[in-house]
């Protein structure tokens, strides 16, 4: 039995496969959330956002999407990226009650580490480096061939996503950016995603041996699959970032009109 999705080189079939490592990982996050929120009242909808975010993470990691993305289709791999790094983290972070963040802040070492990693400049740097590195062909091909490597890559995306979204959504007053700065910060991430998008969409040859040499799935050629992957990054990932920027802009506008404090 395999515990995490990875490239195995076996022909694809639609028979269900179990990945217990994914279940344990998702269960561990759920348990941490329940522990963090124990006895604390969450605002209406807060918990729902967390569980929706966690569900998206689960969908991205487990069969079939996880398996297709790990070893068969670059386009599925990119859907995973969008879900793990861009969609799930903001939902999960906004789903943590304020008291949960306060509990983290009360732990000096954790607060210090998070404080360092989630400084906007550090966070955007980490996010950009992880995006470029985890789409580099040699890195993808080296990591996707083993379960541990595939796990590291998924973890890197989740880590980068959490670090990136933290300054935008975490309700920690002293680390809040003004709304205008948040809009600029979020849109900055669209720039870093442009590089892999250009390479994937306009490259003449396939980038990743993993997907080029994988047993075929569906009717797409390797090159078409790679172009679709680039478009998913651009359109899907870009849409999430632009929607987030739009929401932040609207909130900034409202706060300006209502005299609300920024952030």
């Amino acid at each position: 039995m395999t515990w995490w999705c990875s490239a195995q080189g076996i022909p694809w079939d639609w028979g269900w496969r179990a990945y217990p490592g994914v279940w344990l990982f998702v269960a561990a996050i759920a348990a941490a959330y329940l522990t963090l929120g124990r006895g604390r009242t969450a605002r209406p909808g807060t918990a729902a956002r967390f569980w929706i975010g966690l569900a998206l993470l689960w969908v991205a990691l487990d069969w079939p999407l996880g398996a297709l993305g790990a070893g068969y289709l670059a386009s599925a791999h990119m859907v995973q990226f969008v879900l793990i790094a861009l969609a799930a983290p903001p939902l999960m972070l906004t789903g943590v009650p304020d008291a949960g963040y306060a509990a983290i802040e009360r732990r000096p070492r954790a607060a210090r580490a998070i404080g360092l990693l989630t400084r906007p400049l550090v966070a955007i740097l980490i996010f950009n480096v992880v995006i470029v590195a985890t789409h580099w062909p040699a890195v993808v091909d080296a990591l996707m061939g083993t379960q541990a490597g595939s796990f590291v890559l998924d973890l890197a995306w989740l880590f980068a996503g959490v670090v990136f979204w933290w300054p935008v959504v975490a309700p920690v007053p002293e680390r809040r950016l003004p709304y205008v700065a948040k809009v600029g910060y979020v849109l900055l991430a669209t720039v870093s995603m442009t590089l892999p998008y250009i390479f994937l969409t306009f490259a003449e040859l396939p980038f990743y041996a993993t997907y080029e040499l994988a047993p075929p799935v569906g009717g797409l050629t390797t090159r078409e699959d790679q172009r679709v992957a680039g478009l998913i990054m651009r359109v899907g990932g870009g849409a999430i970032l632009w929607i987030a920027a739009g929401i932040l802009f609207f909130r900034w506008y409202r706060s300006e009109n209502e005299g609300m404090p920024a952030g």
């Binding site: 490239a7 080189g9 076996i10 022909p11 070492r109 954790a110 580490a113 998070i114 360092l116 990693l117 980490i126 480096v129 992880v130 590195a133 985890t134 580099w136 062909p137 040699a138 890195v139 091909d141 080296a142 990591l143 996707m144 061939g145 083993t146 541990a148 490597g149 590291v152 973890l155 890197a156 880590f159 003449e204 040859l205 396939p206 041996a209 993993t210 080029e212 040499l213 994988a214 047993p215 075929p216 050629t221 390797t222 090159r223």
Partner: protein
């Protein structure tokens, strides 16, 4: 030589590359992040090394070059239109890729042919017309002419498909120093056929010079096509 081919067959660069990891002190968040970034950086270093190696190999074939090229043995088999295809006569003066496989193959055959078709599609017309691809089925019981034709057309309509008696095909494979195909189920049904996974490149002068094992990438085929065609005269 066969043993070395067999060693290469079935290997992919996916399996050949290993991720590097650094040491990190457990329990420290920053150290975990450093470990993560370290393994990614190691991957980037590998990429740089690959790039250097590619520059050094610019003038060398990336396929498996035979130490002793041999004259392509002649054979005649029926093509998908029912006409006899005389291999040497039909391919004289062309750079020819010869591949033994089967249409129900779930992995090696479709990947090989799709990759070859993709790089051939990139060639200018004048270069493309100097290349032929000949596919010989190793599963004639299921690979009826119309099945082979329909399957090959998914890749390229100019690919030639040949069939015939399995014993004859296995004898032809032996003359090309390839192992016989096996694993057929006389009762029919859904079975896998064991077959040689390498694609042979036959130069215009009729010599088998290079083999491309399973796992050969489009970049390698494109690189070698350029070199092989430079040595080819227009028929």
């Amino acid at each position: 030589m066969t043993a070395e081919w067999a060693r290469k067959v079935g290997t992919t660069r996916v399996a050949a590359r290993k991720a590097a990891t650094g040491k990190a002190a457990a329990g420290k968040t920053a150290a975990r992040a450093a470990l993560l970034m370290g393994s990614l950086a190691a991957g980037l270093a590998c990429a740089d090394a690959d790039s250097r190696s590619e520059r050094e190999d610019a003038g060398r074939l990336r396929g498996f070059v035979l130490e002793e090229p041999f004259a392509a043995p002649d054979f005649t088999l029926p093509d998908t239109e029912g006409s006899d295809f005389e291999f040497r006569a039909e391919t004289a003066g062309f750079l020819t890729f010869l591949f033994f496989g089967y249409a129900n193959c779930p992995d090696i055959c479709p990947v090989h042919l799709a990759n070859l078709a993709a790089v051939l599609d990139d060639l200018p017309y004048e270069a493309r017309r100097r290349v032929k691809v000949v596919f010989v089925t190793t599963d004639p019981a299921r690979d009826q002419p119309e099945v082979v034709r329909r399957w090959l057309d998914r890749f390229d309509r100019t690919f030639v498909g040949l069939g015939g008696d399995l014993d004859v095909i296995n004898e032809i494979q032996a003359t090309y120093r390839l192992p016989p195909a096996g694993g057929h189920d006389p009762e029919g049904g859904d079975y896998l056929v064991g077959h040689a996974a390498q694609m042979l490149a036959v130069s215009p002068d009729g010599a088998v010079r290079v083999a491309y094992p399973a796992g050969t990438r489009q970049a390698d085929l494109a690189h070698d096509l350029r070199l092989l065609l430079e040595a080819t005269t227009v028929p």
